[in-house]
Amino acid sequence: MTDITGTTGMTGIAAIEKEAMALPPAAVTAGGSLPKAAKPSRIGLYLTLPGQIVSVLVLVVPLLVALYMSFTDWTPTRGSLLAAQLVGIDNYSELLVWDTRFIYAVIRTLCLSVVCLSLEFAFGLGLAVLFLREFRGKSVLFSAFLTPMMILPVVVGYIFWMLFQSNGPVNQMLEFVLGPQHTVEWFRSAPFAVLAVIVTEVWHWTPLFFLILLSGLNSVPENPVRAAVILGASPRQVFWRVVMPMLKPVIIVAFVIRSMEIIKLFDEVFMLTRGGPGSSTETVSLYIYKLAFNDFQLAYGAAAAFLVLLGCLAMIHLLLTPVRDQLLAGGR
């Protein structure tokens, strides 16, 4: 502990000197007596050490175990993992070539993501633009519109499961508007089950897009907008040609964050449909869960998980490239 007393980092020296000019002499002497052996990096190491230990023990080690497992044919009935037979890339080739259920789950998750994120973006942007106007009760409405994203996913799934029951309020409203022959058994037909999942997901996460886009819109500098108006641009032109380009980093951040989450979509679907009817709403996460914890094909499930991770990494890398510095530097 002694080597970290009263020392400052090299980067701070200039600032220290500036600071010292304005300070009484006593403080300057204190500052002047800094020991030369200061090792600013060591305290940084100590501070980050607990976090790194936790991450290694609870994330990296299990991941390595899973990686090893994915190259074996292990199932819980075979006893110790070490006794399992190595099968090379059999699990992976099986998944990519023969397992249509897995391939469909991947495609389904991607399609769901594209549809949901597009809708969330469109609704979120529309709402955010409305919130640029002045009106009464704005702050109350702002909070009200954020409510869905504050509710836990399991409960959101449960709520919509209730709403879409055959004698639930959604069917009641359909009956009222379109007549009794237009009610729908939401969870018995594949297209309607998918629609229910999309509605749930869009309801739940549009507020996040709204929140991010609104904070982006509010921080668009006024001068370029004013200049464009003075030069005779129409409001539409101003929005699409001036405001939107400046909003691009914020939009990408929103999409990256949401893609990372929606690829893992599990809780809501688990409560709504459990992947049914058949496997028409089965997401990748749900499929892996069923593989591992219903069918106990743990090794095979681990291989599926790694394939998904590789896909996610590649996708996020592409999405992230234009805004990496902003995101990783914490907006500094």
Binding site: L63, P235, L328
Partner: protein
């Protein structure tokens, strides 16, 4: 930006959007106070004529429904509520404490290469279903399945990236010169952080704590695969109620759902202005 007021059409759109946003919340609240006769009525009853709290009572005393002549739930939710509280509170405290140290370390001493944050982000992307598999295996070999210790360990690890990065963005906002002035005044580095840095970011610390609590309280899948009989959390109990009763005890299920969501909505409103920062790893500030 250009027009100042809402046009009538825009007002109508806003009202419609508000109705869509609030209706599901209204429905679950109403269902939670419906007496058993109203649960499964057809056509569905929107606002119960005789609102009751019996559903909430049933959660803690499964026999409370007897007076309505309905068989209650087989399992009380007491354990799940206590379990959720225990796991979320302990995991949140640990995650924020470790994250705070790491945040100061990264922000002030530039430890860690450019790759570290990317690794942290990748950790978030990995589907929990995949991490759950090795956890169950490792935990069963060291006797941590079905225990709160195991669950809390996972929760801490899973939320650590969020707490570290969110806190780092708050520390970044604080000018270095303030701490450096304190160090010149003779304080050691650690004392300077303790007496200057941490008090100055207390608003951010509070927001981060609340945000991590939201994440832990909401977690479902790890609890689902680790909980057999000793431990339980509210989301797991809710899923159990829905399967075990083939989805007929709507009122009781809704009561548990309301119990799960009320704390989060309150906490969410409290830290509303920091939600964007938390959700985006501090990339977007408000």
């Amino acid at each position: 930006m250009l027009t100042r007021k809402l046009s009538p059409l825009q007002m109508a759109i806003m009202a419609a959007a508000l109705a869509v946003v609030l209706f599901p919340v209204f429905w679950i609240l109403m269902t939670s106070i419906k007496p058993p006769t109203d649960w499964n009525a057809s056509p569905a009853i929107w606002v119960p004529t005789k609102p009751t709290l019996v559903n909430f009572k049933t959660l803690f005393d499964p026999d409370a429904l007897r007076e309505y002549g309905v068989g209650g739930v087989s399992q009380s939710a007491t354990k799940a509520v206590l379990g959720s509280l225990l796991a979320s509170l302990v995991a949140t405290a640990l995650s924020v404490a470790i994250g705070l140290l790491a945040a100061i370390g990264i922000s002030r001493y530039g430890n860690g290469s450019k790759a570290t944050p990317l690794i942290i982000l990748s950790g978030r992307m990995f589907p929990p279903a995949a991490i759950a598999v090795p956890f169950v295996i490792i935990f069963s070999s060291i006797g941590l399945t079905d225990s709160y210790v195991g669950l809390i360990a996972i929760y801490v690890a899973a939320t650590l990236p969020f707490s570290t990065w969110m806190l780092k963005s708050f520390v970044d906002d604080l000018p270095r010169e303030i701490e450096e002035a304190a160090m010149i005044d003779g304080l050691s580095r650690l004392r300077a952080h303790l007496t200057v840095t941490i008090p100055l970011i207390r608003g951010g610390l509070f927001a981060t704590t609340m945000f991590i609590f939201i994440l832990n309280w909401s977690e479902f899948m790890f609890a689902l695969v680790l909980a057999y009989s000793n431990i339980s959390t509210i989301p797991v109990q809710l899923a159990k109620y829905v399967t075990a009763t083939a989805g007929t005890l709507y009122g009781v299920q809704a009561a548990l759902a309301v119990l799960a969501m009320v704390p989060l909505v309150i906490v969410g409103y409290l830290i509303q202005s920091h939600l964007a920062r938390g959700m985006t790893f501090g990339a977007i500030k408000q």
